[in-house]
């Protein structure tokens, strides 16, 4: 298994060198089984091995992307793929805003733009389960969710304004070698639209979600996990063309084992 993994990593590294420019550095994530806040029927979710970008995609990288793919420039983007807030802080189609750092995470992008960015690099957005799996790590442990400071740190960040102006790498490097999952920006996920809080977050369900607004939390596996609940709730409220100032993204890639 180890050898296969090493081989696969090497193959990926070679393909990494040969494909397009400005690809972010990636690290391998060893898959496993965990219980997310919202699970499937069985509660446990199994994650396969994959690679994840070490940092969120930066302003600089996204700028290169829109230069290469003009259809994602602010004046060119189709309304069906992005709302009016798309790249709203930029000075022009190919210029960042005066106060925007090249190394800050890109925000104000829609799911369609983020998804296409990853695709153009032979990658994809992480699934919610993959994202949450990596994000439950602190500096030293793959699953730090039971630790009080872990949750305090995240909730502390939720209270801080404008952290999206900070540069990537601003927060800590976690157990997997991934930076900034908490403390910089919220991130798009591939299947953000699968968040069906209380089975269904729209009104066509037969339970009593209309009766009390916090009822969604009843479906959670650990009611103490408020920080994660905030993330699921936010994802559930998004539409794919929304562009938000504090919402960025990063990409992942499957590890294709040698046949």
């Amino acid at each position: 298994m180890q050898t296969i993994l090493r081989l696969a990593t090497r193959i990926l590294f070679i393909s990494y060198l040969s494909t397009t420019y400005c690809q972010s550095e990636m690290v391998p994530i060893k898959g496993g089984t965990y219980t997310p806040l919202y699970g499937r029927d069985s509660l446990q979710v199994t994650i396969s091995d994959f690679q994840m970008d070490v940092y969120p995609v930066t302003n600089k990288a996204f700028l290169e992307f829109v230069k290469k793919y003009p259809k994602w420039q602010r004046s060119q983007v189709k309304k069906i793929f992005a709302d009016g807030n798309y790249l709203i802080g930029w000075t022009s189609d190919t210029e960042l805003g005066k106060k925007q750092s090249v190394n800050a995470p890109i925000t104000s992008i829609s799911w369609f733009a983020a998804s296409n960015y990853c695709e153009c690099q032979g990658k994809r957005l992480p699934t919610i389960d993959e994202w949450e799996y990596v994000a439950m790590a602190n500096k030293t442990m793959p699953d730090a969710r039971q630790l009080e400071d872990y949750n305090k740190y995240i909730l502390g960040w939720y209270e801080k304004p404008k952290t999206f102006n900070n540069e990537v790498g601003y927060t800590f490097k976690n157990y997997w070698g991934v930076y900034d999952l908490h403390g910089l920006v919220w991130e798009w996920t591939l299947d953000f639209n699968s968040v069906l809080v209380s089975g269904e977050s729209r009104k066509d369900v037969d339970n009593d979600s209309n009766l009390f607004c916090g009822s969604a939390a009843i479906g959670a596996t650990d009611l103490m996990n408020y920080a994660a609940f905030m993330r699921y709730a936010t994802r559930g409220s998004l539409k794919a063309k929304y562009a938000m100032k504090n919402l960025g993204f990063r990409c992942v890639k499957d590890i294709i084992e040698e046949q």
Partner: protein
């Protein structure tokens, strides 16, 4: 001049209610010639889909007809049979002469199971094998993208089951979303009216 909601004023100045400056009304959509599609059109999606007849199409190939679209999967035991019934109930209320300008589209959210053959069999079983019915099989990513355009939510909850929003969407012949009906077995009066308006032109 415009400020509060849909209220307009024929002079500049400030709104008597909120005191904010009035802004000139902008024409929301410019007139498009017949062959152009608007920025809001689903025909901007360029992914390829398989039909139940084994053809490969892009959504744009459906241009020119009013589209009534729903997302389903054929192994569904709970909501989908009702959604399918809702689609048939809508069809039943549309006069024959309007049907020729109408296409009912059922998009599978389970592209692995719902092969064109399976969709064809499903169409026959459910008496939806006529010209006005189209079933589409995409890929995992094209289905996700399409659901995002419709604001349909879905999640695989076991290998055989998906949880999903029950939404029937009506698009005009240019692929622009005109109406969405949410829920199961709901009153489809508005949906029917939208379809009649669009297909009677």
């Amino acid at each position: 001049m415009k400020c509060e909601g849909k209220k307009t004023y024929n002079h500049s100045g400030s709104c008597p209610v909120c005191k904010m400056d009035l802004k000139p009304v902008q024409k929301s959509t410019k007139e498009l010639s017949n062959n152009e599609i608007s920025e809001e059109s689903i025909f901007n999606l360029t992914t390829k889909w398989n039909t139940e007849e084994g053809e490969t199409i892009q959504l744009e190939d459906l241009k020119g007809k009013t589209l009534v679209i729903v997302m389903i999967y054929t192994t569904c035991k709970a909501a989908c049979p009702r959604l399918v019934a809702d689609m048939r109930n809508i069809e039943a209320k549309i006069p024959k002469e309007n049907l020729k300008n109408l296409q009912f589209v059922l998009v599978s959210i389970d592209p692995e199971t719902d092969t064109p053959q399976r969709l064809k069999a499903f169409a026959k079983e459910n008496f939806m094998d006529g010209e006005q019915w189209t079933f589409l099989q995409g890929t995992t990513s094209s289905v996700r993208e399409f659901a995002n355009v419709l604001a349909v939510k879905y999640k695989q909850i076991s290998p055989m089951d998906f949880s999903h929003s029950n939404i029937i969407s009506v698009f005009n012949s240019g692929g622009e979303l005109m109406h969405q009906q949410e829920g199961l077995g709901v009153d489809n009066k508005e949906t029917i009216q939208t379809i009649l308006d669009l297909t009677s032109k």
